[in-house]
């Protein structure tokens, strides 16, 4: 008999390619997003922003707005005494601008009216007068010694505890400095056979979640409580920030979970919620607020733009000797998650490679631009673009194949990262080289590379190119803020069904479906017997939310542990009922039975009934995940929960006359640990790759003097169906030793190397390199011209 070639055992539910359990609600229009909700008596909120910035506000006249029929309340700084501030790094953003407007997103007033149109009209009736102030809008300008200070009180600006170690107080708008040091790059530099270096730029990119930010908020005066239905993907982060701003304890602020129409790292900061809450408090009525698409661009966060100076050295055989990088982050005026992004990006600069000398200096710079923050990838796509470009340049200089040089350097089990973390096999599956080999194979690398660069197109005016890039992603964040933890309850109901109480926020990644598969697997139940409990921040344990690729790993682990705990409890009760040894009792196919004695079986309902009415205790499993990360210390020594890996190969065709780049094919070989649901994992991978294509070629929020020039869908191009290339996904499933059934996060790593791979393919096609993203047709033509010029 032939051996099973598949190393993974077969499960009935786990690993099954089943559709989303909640899919029908979306295709029929029955799913209610926060922005779909309305409640009786509801008012509508609109915000008035400062249209000039930076500026001194010399007058705010809301009298006309207040008098407009239908307007129920108008709030300005004057109505919020002792204005609290918020921020995920610097606590610098106040709800209302009082005297100074730093950005065009600073809120001057908030209006509640009986309908959107009235609220809008009222906003337009507000008269604000300004005096212009000088601004600093580019990284270069803001870094200058004589630059106008975005926060003149920089020296005393409050900072969240974890960031204090890296805060600088005496360098003007440069406010953080995070350093990574491994070995000695200066000493190593002369040893390198080849040194390549360049300056890379990455752009401000908009998340462009299809659902804009929005919320319905109700303040109940009788109980002094706030309830909200928000588009957030991080309900606990939202209520924490909201409670802080409203000066309420968190147990008086409840977020009811509703599906979020996309997140991508953009739905973590509070946006319109606090205004709705204050207006609700003022009027005694529920208040709804929804951002317009324009507000999405300037009032919510965007991906943090990076300037990256990077140098990389390699020995003749391709072994990387050193990487030296300076990262400059334009955080806008408030530095949302950007400081955390800078830490994370720094740690990932080395790539999943053995580089003995690493030096990174990352600095966050305040500018008068709109606020930047976190974005799917959290700094990894930016640094991967620079590093993988340089690795290709080094390979070229050394006449090495790009696949070869990556394989030569890729981490092996036991590798030591630049933060000193040892990737020991008992805690990490390190499969960097596996992803490289798989990507090379799935893409037909050798044959395709030989084919590439032959002229194509009807008139021979097109060139093909192929490029490869590898990246890694640290799961669960850089552990600067402490240990990642998750708790879940798995409850057996008297009718034999099971309800899962977890804090996982479904932002489209299908986590609820996957969790139900995990529970079904653990309990031997059909998936249909599992329901995901309706969630609110009151009813579920505290959680970081859908971020840092952690939900499957951390919450999934807690849910699995909870399910196993329940199983043990059920087995215990059944053993007592059957007068059997618990060791001999099994739980499968929806029954509890004595192994080898099929007659001695009980339905789960009977067991639960007995547990409750006979023994006086409902069987509820409790499961926990305790992340084994070590918070980063001042020397950047610390540990992340684990790493994910992906290698991608892009094939492009470049039109030499128009500069158009068409991606023909994207191959993604990604280590996912274990596909709890391959349909869902594949969807994440495909979506991430196409979003990476947008980052590489299409998308840029254009800011001029602090104004966003293209805040409309017709001037900001996200990938369309016709832009999507052939997508090839290869799921590598080397079980993670810690993740539930071996699963790891998949949602960010899938776009981390995409832009780098596309950039390398373009460079291969045109023989010169575009070092700033997005690689627009205009930049391609300029690069071609400059190549011809010398």
């Amino acid at each position: 008999m032939a051996e099973a070639t598949h190393p993974l055992p077969e499960y009935a539910v786990l690993g099954a390619r089943i559709p989303r359990i909640d899919a029908a609600a979306f295709v029929t229009g029955q799913a209610r997003f926060a922005t779909d909700l309305s409640v009786p008596g509801m008012l509508h909120c609109q915000l008035r922003y400062s249209e000039q910035a930076p500026a001194r506000i010399t007058g705010i006249d809301v009298s006309a707005a207040r008098q407009l029929p239908g307007v129920e309340a108008v709030l300005t700084a004057a109505d919020v005494p002792g204005m609290p501030r918020t921020g995920m790094g610097f606590v610098a953003r106040s709800l209302f601008a009082r005297e100074t407007a730093r950005t065009v997103a600073d809120v001057v007033a908030a209006v509640a009216a009986i309908d959107e149109a009235t609220a809008r009209r009222a906003v337009e009736l507000i008269d604000v007068t300004y005096e212009d102030l000088p601004g600093a809008f580019s990284l270069d300008d803001a870094r200058r010694q004589d630059a106008p200070l975005v926060h003149p009180e920089t020296a005393s600006l409050p900072v969240v505890p974890w960031l204090q170690r890296w805060t600088v107080r005496d360098q003007g708008n440069v406010v953080t400095h995070f350093r990574v040091r491994k070995g000695d790059t200066a000493a190593a530099r002369p040893r390198a056979a080849v040194v390549v270096q360049d300056r890379f730029r990455t752009q401000r990119m908009e998340h462009f979640s299809m659902e804009p930010h929005g919320a319905v908020v109700n303040y109940d005066a009788a109980t002094d409580r706030v309830t909200l239905w928000s588009s957030t993907g991080k309900p606990f982060r939202t209520i924490t920030q909201l409670a802080e701003l409203l000066q309420l304890p968190t147990n008086r602020v409840t977020a009811v979970y509703v599906p979020a129409g996309g997140d991508f790292g953009g739905k973590g900061e509070v946006t319109i919620e606090p205004y709705c809450a204050l207006l609700s408090k003022k009027t005694g009525r529920p208040v709804k607020g929804v951002y317009s698409r324009e507000e999405e661009f300037f009032a919510a966060t965007c991906k943090t733009p990076f300037d990256i100076d990077m140098a990389l050295g390699a020995e003749r055989d391709g072994a990387l000797v050193f990487i030296d990088a300076g990262l400059w982050l334009d955080t806008g005026a408030y530095n949302s998650m950007s400081a955390m992004v800078s830490v994370y990006a720094s740690v990932l600069v080395e790539g999943p490679y053995n580089v003995s000398n690493v030096s990174v200096d990352a600095r966050c710079v305040f500018t008068h631009n709109v606020m930047s923050g976190s974005f799917r990838g959290f700094g990894s796509p930016q640094v991967a673009f620079a590093r993988e470009s340089l690795i290709d340049e080094a390979a070229k200089a050394l006449s090495l194949d790009p696949v070869e040089i990556r394989l030569r350097n890729g981490w092996r089990p036991g590798a030591v990262t630049c933060t000193g973390q040892v990737l020991s096999p008992d805690r990490h599956s390190v499969t960097v080289c596996e992803t490289i080999r798989a990507a090379a194979e799935a893409s037909g690398w050798e044959a395709r590379r030989a084919d590439a660069r032959t002229p194509s197109g009807t008139d021979g005016r097109k060139r093909r190119g192929i490029g490869i890039a590898t990246a890694h992603h640290g799961l669960g964040g850089p552990a600067v803020a402490g240990v990642d933890t998750a708790t879940a309850f798995v409850k057996a109901n008297p009718d034999g069904t099971v309800t899962v109480i977890s804090a996982a926020a479904d932002v489209g990644q299908g986590i609820d479906t996957a969790l139900s598969q995990i529970v079904a697997e653990a309990l031997g139940l059909p998936r249909a017997a599992i329901a995901i409990g309706i969630k609110s921040t009151d009813a579920v344990p505290e959680d970081y939310g859908a971020s840092a690729s952690r939900t499957m790993y951390s919450v999934g682990n807690a849910v699995r542990a909870g399910a196993l705990d329940l199983r043990q409890k059920l087995v215990g009760v059944a053993a007592r009922m059957l007068e059997a040894d618990p060791q001999d009792v099994d739980c499968a196919q929806g029954k509890l039975f004595v192994r080898g004695a099929p007659g001695r079986a009980l339905a789960i309902a009977e067991v639960v009934h007995h547990a409750m009415r006979g023994e006086g205790e409902q069987p509820i499993g409790v499961g926990r995940h305790r992340g084994r990360a070590v918070p980063m210390n001042a020397e950047a020594r610390g540990e992340l929960q684990t790493f994910e890996y992906s290698t991608q190969v892009a094939e492009v065709e470049v039109d030499l006359d128009t500069g158009d780049v068409r991606v023909l094919r994207l191959v993604n070989a990604q280590e996912i640990g274990r596909a709890v649901n391959p349909l869902i994992v594949e969807g994440q991978m495909e979506g991430g790759m196409v979003m990476g294509l947008g980052f590489a070629l299409l998308e840029e929020v254009v800011c001029r003097d602090g104004q966003v020039l293209n805040p409309y869908a017709f001037d900001y191009r996200i990938p369309r169906a016709e832009d999507a290339p052939e997508l090839v996904t290869v799921m590598l499933q080397h079980r993670d030793p810690i993740g539930p059934y071996g699963a790891k996060g998949v949602g960010e790593i899938c776009m981390d190397p995409t832009a780098a791979a596309i950039a390398n393919a373009v460079a291969d096609a045109i023989g010169t390199r575009v070092t700033s993203l997005p690689i627009t047709p205009e930049k391609v033509l300029r690069a071609l011209r400059e190549r011809r010029a010398p």
């Binding site: 009209r121 869908a713 017709f714 191009r717 047709p777």
Partner: protein, 302 residues
């Protein structure tokens, strides 16, 4: 968000014209509304009255065998043009341009007349009609007049229409059967960055260009015909090095003629380069259609 307005449903062109005259600046003709409602929602335009011109019976497509002209009513939707067998037969370049304009929903609602009358500088319709030497019939309670596309489009967002005038229809002369025509556009953002059309009308013997037309759109406030480029191509043989030489001269002329500005669509220099590149492609495609290796007949590419 739309602010309130009143809607008028006149029964005749004269009534509509009178209404527009009486209401003056506060009123505007409303067809599909894809531009108008958008601009009003964005607060760029304010009208207290909209005059619905869809019930005026101005939509429809007809080919007049005698004049060899295609008549397209002003309120004909892009979709109707796109799906019209008559247009496909008589003005294939127009049909193929329509297939690539905006998206299916805008095409289902937006009208050809609305496109022209809004005079948005990034119009494919205007460039292609200019190339076709189409004419526009304007009408009011005071009478009718016929103008060319170049006369209709005065400036960005500005037409020669009097406040009480409506565009009634456009007439598109069919190109001669042995002509070759092609329209090339580049669109990175929603609307085209550059659109270039070339028509080559061969001489009777079919070996040289009797008349060349070159229209460039999106690179200035209104699409333009590039006379110098047309003259460079006129008289050139359709094949061989001589065509290439004439084309090079025409490309130079196009490069000189267009005066783009830096904007979100790109820098002036880039757009000029793109215009020249598209011109080359359009010209070569037009040539290939005008003088096919075998057979003959009009065709178009995009």
């Amino acid at each position: 968000m739309l602010q309130p307005f009143r809607l008028h449903d006149p029964a005749t062109v004269a009534d509509a014209s009178n209404l527009l005259a009486d209401l003056g600046e506060e009123a505007r003709a409303y067809a599909g509304g894809t531009e108008l409602l958008l601009a009003m929602k964005q607060g760029l335009l304010h009208y207290r009255h909209l005059v619905n011109i869809k019930p005026l019976g101005l939509s429809g497509i007809r080919f007049d065998e005698e004049t060899r002209r295609l008549r397209i009513g002003a309120t004909t939707t892009h979709r109707a043009v796109e799906h019209s067998a008559v247009v496909a037969a008589r003005a294939p370049m127009l049909a193929s341009m329509e297939r690539h304009l905006a998206n299916v929903r805008v095409r289902a609602v937006g009208t050809v007349g609305g496109n022209l009358c809004f005079a948005e500088p990034h119009s494919d319709v205007a460039t292609v009609l200019l190339l076709h030497e189409a004419t526009a019939t304007l009408g009011s309670a005071r009478g009718r007049r016929v103008v060319g596309i170049a006369e209709l489009l005065r400036d960005a967002y500005t037409t020669c229409l009097h406040p009480d005038e409506l565009l009634l229809d456009i007439e598109v002369p069919e190109l001669p059967p042995n002509a070759g025509a092609a329209y090339q556009k580049a669109a990175f953002l929603e609307r085209p960055s550059v659109g270039v059309g070339v028509a080559l009308l061969p001489a009777a013997d079919g070996s040289t260009v009797a008349e060349a037309r070159v229209a460039v759109g999106c690179l200035g406030p209104v699409p333009v015909r590039v006379g110098e480029a047309e003259r460079a191509l006129a008289g050139a043989p359709l094949r061989g090095r001589a065509f290439e030489r004439a084309l090079d001269a025409a490309l130079d002329a196009v490069g000189r003629a267009c005066e783009p500005v830096d904007d979100l669509y790109g820098s002036a220099g880039y757009k000029r380069q793109l215009g020249v590149a598209l011109m080359r492609r359009a010209a070569v495609a037009a040539r290939d259609h005008a003088a096919p290796a075998r057979g003959g007949g009009i065709s178009a590419t995009d």
